[in-house]
Amino acid sequence: MTAHTAEAPRAQIDDSPITPTRNGAEVLIDVLVEQGVEVIFGYPGGAVLPIYDALFKQDRIRHILVRHEQAAVHAAEGYARSTGKPGVVLVTSGPGATNAVTGLLDALMDSIPLVCLTGQVPTHVIGSDAFQEADTTGITRPCTKHNYLVKSGNDLARVVHEAFHVATSGRPGPVVVDLPKDVVVAPAPYLSRPTRPHRSYQPQRTPDPAAIAEAVALLRTAERPLIYVGGGVINAGPEASAALRRFVALTGFPVTSTLMGLGAIDADDASFIGMLGMHGAYEANLATHGCDVLLNIGARFDDRVTGRLDAFSPDSRKIHIDIDPSSINKIVRVAVPVVADARLAIEALIDAWGEATPKPDIAPWWRQIDAWRAIDSLAISQPEGEDAVIKPQYAIRRLYEMTRASGRDTFISTEVGQHQMWAAQHFGFDRPNRWLTSGGLGTMGYGLPAAAGAQIAHPEALCIDIAGEASILMNIQELGTLAQYRLPVKIFILNNRYMGMVRQWQELLHGSRYSESYSDALPDFVKLAESFHAKGLRATKLGELDGVIAEMLAHDGPVVAEISVDEFENVFPMIPSGAAHNEMILGAAQSSQAAGITEEGMMLV
């Protein structure tokens, strides 16, 4: 993650340690300004009133009032993922902090840089079960990269600067700073961003040249190479994606991506063979299974990707580039570990490979991949006719084609479920930072606030939340935020009247007993939108789909478009849990295979 480099306006106050004249809350704002913070997502309460007061009295930082603290965190994640800058959250003590917890863990799992400021009861009552007291550092310890309780105003500025450093450097992640009320009320000294390295935290960014040389030597011998990229390439900034594209052009190697890495390489690039993993493309998974050298750049061998571990890419020698040493050899043993920032490592690979080196001849491997590609595992079977039921995959395809035709810079967020997988499969991304999804935690309710956060950062862009009818209800209150700030976010609900992803697993693994997965008593989404001052649209059959998408895209304000889709469509291809990549189910006709899932497989999630 490139720490934002924009020169922050220096706060006009005295640096010297003489009697401070500003209170902790004002000093906090100064530190945020120095850190380049432009926006805070938050929700007030007793413990943070002094901070809200300081916000009121200044105009350097904009505060976005959300409708639920979880949404504040997801909005900050959307802001961060779409800009590369850290997202900033401000919530009150007790329930404010606990409401933020899901978002924090979401950011931790997906390596999103955040600084979350939580209010706390005054220091002298901590531990007495005071009103709205929670052990916030205790609760958030396993949900953050690091957290702090600031016990004295003297530590305030230093700790907040440090929080930004920790959140944005190395493997990015969320950092909580817990601020007792007395600390923000009392005067506190200001300190500028430290110039000295941190005492104990100094993540390695530059690759070991010997490891790079070893990696290149291995890559040169490859007959069936495969590059497997992940979210780390996005974390490493747009220059990392640019370097990746140069490296791919140089080598002619095929590239697959995780869910989190989509956009690192242009989806239209001939070298891109699609997403891999549980719902990945046939060619991507078979190439992963069949390759002889696997170059992992910024991906973490997640279980959605590897499937059955002892059958994962069994014949390959593996190179793993990751900025976090704990990601390496955690799940899959690799031959060449490279601890480094993805951009620096790819640039070093390019140098070591040599710009003048001719592309190796891997034509037979490409012929094999092309044969797998010809299976067309993501083909869509949309029935024709005005009144035909809309296939969800087709709705996303049309959304993609029509947004692309509009030529607008487009950011897509998703909720969690089948619609998320179809979005990953059928919406193409040509650039990094345009795809905002909850991968590691899989948090329903992520998409709407994340889209709002992206829209705040990119007011002119098209920000669309591809949603399911169940997920959207988890943070639907954020329609109020869209209305208040006139955020023209588009919510594209694929309404299949089921928690489709749950129903799919019940169909495949639990004898089609659809226990509690039917979306009963749904609201009228059009009226719901209207009551939140948004535009509501609905398409119930194929003949209405393009019109609704066009109207949605044309409207200069928030829109909820409810698309009624086929209720029983499943996400394919699918590697059932506990299966290997070459045991993929391609479609409904084959899904009886899933009945053969072992008991061991059934225990997996």
Binding site: R141, N147, L149, S200, D310, P325, S326, A335
Partner: protein, 171 residues
Amino acid sequence: MPPVEQPVVNAVISVLVENETGALGRVIGLFSGRGYNIDSLTVAPVEDGRNRSRINIATSGTPMIIEQIKAQLDRLVPVHRVSDLTQEGPHVAREMALVKVVSSGEARSEALRIANAFRARPIDTSVESFVFELTGATDKLDAFIELLRPLGLVEVSRTGIAAIARGSRVL
């Protein structure tokens, strides 16, 4: 390379950590949260003026797990250094036990004889009890305690290990 079932090994890991609130909690939480074993854990400040503590952890797991434990510890923000003493050459590890024996007659004198053989010191004595202090390697303490068990052993208090590399090598 399909993962091969690896044998479980013991490891002694020393961690130099900034002495700040919550640092120990982070280390312990890491072990419980990720399901790693802690056989024993000791912590105390070690560098005057530098505000650092040393944590010694005796743990066990497959080599891959041990490697994970070290990497996970190393990425905690207040952690300065992590060293796997078992891996990085020879080391010495000692712990101390206070062992209370309540007995009389032959059992009492036998307990004292065993204590002598182990060079355990009686540091508290009453007519019907002894408290022995014994310092040594973990297995020596284990053996001592086992021998006293039938001789009126009623309570044990152990420190867990302090460990350090042999020779001039430092953490």
